[in-house]
Symmetry: D3
Subunit: 238 residues, 6 copies
Amino acid sequence: MALKEETREKLRRVSTPTLATALYKRGLRQQFIQEVGPLGPLTQSMVGEAYTLRYMPAREDLNPITVFRDRGHMQRRAIEECPPGAVLMIDSRKNARAASAGGILVTRLMMRGAAGIVTDGGFRDSAEIAAMDFPAFHVRPSAPTNLTLHQAVELNGPIGCGDAPVFPGDVIVGDADGVIVLPAELADELADEATEMTAYEDFVTETVRGGRSILGLYPATDPQSLEDFSAWRRAKGR
Amino acid sequence: MALKEETREKLRRVSTPTLATALYKRGLRQQFIQEVGPLGPLTQSMVGEAYTLRYMPAREDLNPITVFRDRGHMQRRAIEECPPGAVLMIDSRKNARAASAGGILVTRLMMRGAAGIVTDGGFRDSAEIAAMDFPAFHVRPSAPTNLTLHQAVELNGPIGCGDAPVFPGDVIVGDADGVIVLPAELADELADEATEMTAYEDFVTETVRGGRSILGLYPATDPQSLEDFSAWRRAKGR
Amino acid sequence: MALKEETREKLRRVSTPTLATALYKRGLRQQFIQEVGPLGPLTQSMVGEAYTLRYMPAREDLNPITVFRDRGHMQRRAIEECPPGAVLMIDSRKNARAASAGGILVTRLMMRGAAGIVTDGGFRDSAEIAAMDFPAFHVRPSAPTNLTLHQAVELNGPIGCGDAPVFPGDVIVGDADGVIVLPAELADELADEATEMTAYEDFVTETVRGGRSILGLYPATDPQSLEDFSAWRRAKGR
Amino acid sequence: MALKEETREKLRRVSTPTLATALYKRGLRQQFIQEVGPLGPLTQSMVGEAYTLRYMPAREDLNPITVFRDRGHMQRRAIEECPPGAVLMIDSRKNARAASAGGILVTRLMMRGAAGIVTDGGFRDSAEIAAMDFPAFHVRPSAPTNLTLHQAVELNGPIGCGDAPVFPGDVIVGDADGVIVLPAELADELADEATEMTAYEDFVTETVRGGRSILGLYPATDPQSLEDFSAWRRAKGR
Amino acid sequence: MALKEETREKLRRVSTPTLATALYKRGLRQQFIQEVGPLGPLTQSMVGEAYTLRYMPAREDLNPITVFRDRGHMQRRAIEECPPGAVLMIDSRKNARAASAGGILVTRLMMRGAAGIVTDGGFRDSAEIAAMDFPAFHVRPSAPTNLTLHQAVELNGPIGCGDAPVFPGDVIVGDADGVIVLPAELADELADEATEMTAYEDFVTETVRGGRSILGLYPATDPQSLEDFSAWRRAKGR
Amino acid sequence: MALKEETREKLRRVSTPTLATALYKRGLRQQFIQEVGPLGPLTQSMVGEAYTLRYMPAREDLNPITVFRDRGHMQRRAIEECPPGAVLMIDSRKNARAASAGGILVTRLMMRGAAGIVTDGGFRDSAEIAAMDFPAFHVRPSAPTNLTLHQAVELNGPIGCGDAPVFPGDVIVGDADGVIVLPAELADELADEATEMTAYEDFVTETVRGGRSILGLYPATDPQSLEDFSAWRRAKGR
């Protein structure tokens, strides 16, 4: 189930909190990736299908520095095989004591057209990554090579990331608040619903900035609120 | 016991570390709110009386999204009833896995003239809040709606916030280091004492920048230090 | 074993991740200080020999505010005795609930020519310290005076800092990713090796930005990669 | 809504895991008190309505040892006012660094006929309490007086305990696995449903001990399982 | 590579600390499963090959209670397919807030001849499991059904358990100290080496109980120690 | 300042909670060692002067297994030099991921007449140690050799243990609730005061078991309580 370009565009214009509320209405409360934030300021939201990489704890004898000479090393394959437009989601078992990846790999991922990268661990070369025009989210910087604690073990299987479930193909959205995971089959309807919610929230924000109380307005229990909103939409062309 | 305008002004010009030391001299060691920082750069320190909101863990059947249609919902009342000049202090049980509040509510609070907002959890719409000229402090951004984990249960009672005790009317001061809680009855004398301490600290900083050792100067065990300070005060008009 | 000026210069031009990998090759996996970052943007990397200060938990009766009147107070001595060019490394037992030091002491340390300061706790006056042109690393800001929880107890002995072992004279390097500890006797060879690694990494980054895959390039399992690198070095004069 | 004696008896014969599953079927996933266990072996399950005590962080000047001379001190009132048959539930903010209560108070509570005591902190005099024939649950032993970190602040209001929501009158059940909170209005139907589930689980356990696979049996997707269960019930008189 | 019966027998007679030291000598420092202990007293050590089950975070819509009606549900398959003599190792992402399994499943596993069960989460029905003559290790009891937070997602792949790497077929040893993971290919030699080490340790313990210093004895830097040991072995027939 | 035998005897008959309260009255709130408990049931309280051992994080190249061949190794010296009657207090930086010591060393310490051993980490051979008639306190069992994470670095200096300050010679008392640290110079008066408090607490417990309320009794705000206590003391000869 490919992510429609139209859905991707809609999702770029809504926030992770709005999506979290839409998920909440459907009984989904665990989709926000905990403790993860962007490395640098984002020029736009990150949106893309999940392509996953899973780390297990590293056993020392299996992880000499020479393992990277193997072209089939899972971490390197993840970088070279993550599809354009997808987000590379790394399950680092919430362990940022060693890096999940570094500047060179993230650069390559960007060059290959990926939509972003997320780990529930940490990146090394964090200043370099923060300076790229490429969305990257982690817990905190971490200099030690991933081999220190992480052994790449699976590509594109179901994983956990920051306590959220991530299935390959789920739609990932990231902004300043963090990263949220949309079940693939719900992405279109969530994009639509969140777009509508965002219109109302923008109207409310503007109205509140004008001095109005939130009571009756947010949510719109006062019928006047919906009328005002209709007028606002017409005026704004939204 | 209302916060005097004069005290408010003094407190704006002293730092939370200076106040922490003044509290320490009185045997009060638990007044700093742990793990909380400002969302954006502050244009000035936050000062105001505490108005509190307490969350308990949310029970799912009591927290459908429709509860916000109730005009008496405690979270919404907190926003509409927090007095101008006060700081809304939220006890989120140090849990940032769901939001304590979001952009619209914080905007409304700002419009109503509150002095700031503090949670020992997290805010959603964090970029939007960070961009406001309104002091807001939290642990980290958090997209999920507060209903996911928090149920608003009490207005303006005594609470804990980041391991600090907060009583309604306590005087809250926040700066880049975080937030500190001044017992209401001590606010005036702490403001005075901290103002004097700040003058000396400013003198010390300037003197140290000029190359002098801290020994004998900080604290002023060398009588010359106090003489120099007197001269400095006269010169500076402080 | 004094840090050679040449080694210091080399270390300024390599990153903590590169050094971490060079240490990893030698079986040293615990040298990165966990959870610590710079207070402000760094104008250059921090490099210097470790001069250490150890805190133990503070006993209330031994830590009235008046202890600072003692010129022999260990914290104050640390500031006045840390050699120019050295980094003051503070073992705060990973406890940031009270400050490890504040603006005045850090200013004095800077004036005395130290290379930087690191704590696995927190600094107070964090905005002031962040604004100095002086490298300082901590976990998070913390307003309470160090006496609240920390009692300075030893100068320049072996310590732990953020789970890393630090011996006096070890060479400390800090950048945006954090701080790493180089055993004194390895500093020269690590500087050399990391310099070579950095040249190759810079070549790889440039090549990857040009569109090439990392396979065969990073690491250089394709002989062509090494030939291209030689040409690049000649062209760049590195 | 008083707890019926019949319901109390039923709840004594079902386990917290069975109740947790019955709650799960109703969408209630947060009712288990996390990280809490019994101090000693239990002679029977604890069952009773919740009577609550809330602690906030202690401010030093408000908590000299002399506060206990006040007969209205909330902690002491909680002990003297908790109704017979009820469970005293203490919100200690998951902080076991100081005691929630000690042997004398727990003894008094037992003598007054309470059904048990639970804290998400720790008890002092833990060996003495463990030796009583009185159900008590905590996180770990803790010798310091509660005044060190806890100030009793409210009786019988809604609280959090170990991340679970607790309302006065909720029905509390505790066994070797820990403590679970049943919403008052669901207690009767949960007791009935859990009683039925327990009968089936006992049948399954016996059958599995006899060598049968769980497939088709647990849950009973094989119709034969239900037939065998009917026969078993008849034979057992359950 | 099947576990030889002879190796299994040897491993039953050595302790996890002795094995940890033998692994340490080989540079393997991450093989001990952190924070896990036995539910009840063990009648003998647990030894068996690892058969693994991996949980990911549960998505609510995929985990109604009815999923257990599916005979192919991974958790149930794990119980029915774990080979006799093997240890079922569960990766619960170190999350004990919901159960990894309960009494009925553990009973079935025991009946099927498994050697034991380990989770880095918690078991429900913990008193019942503790009373079985079957080794089970976890972090703490946990009543909520696994569906609350865990979704079974893979059988017998490589996993992490309590920060240790576990590959299918690795040899698992558990005693009162906890659980350790022996790489399959090292099991025989570790069993031999640990058997020798154990003989010496038993000799040392006896000798120390007789009043001798550990210096020169442990390790045997005094040649007399080895001579005494030889005599002891002859006397003991070991 | 040697611990008087009379004081030692008194301290054996009072509890850590009673001592904690006596310390609290003196403004000492940090003397309880957090998260530490006895390995096995205690036949009597542990009392002795502190003799300390400090661990720092282990650097791999300095900690091959062969370091124990050095008779001067600090850990081994601690065992051989801890005075009879003293408690060996180990600062393991609250890290139980590797052992602080094991059965052989604890046996030797017991044979040498020490009063007990405490670590804020974990012991290996925990079942063996638990079975000795020797007080030992830790956080949890831990099989890996101390060299994995701990390097012994100092004997009998001031340390932290479980967040409490410990100075050599401080008087250590341990019971089922855990371990508390008495400043050496206060030991005598604390023993006296706690003995008096214990008499009253025993009277209160007996009285409460007889059915009396704690109000007016605990503390003794009702004059009758003190009269009854006097009578009780005479009757009991205390």
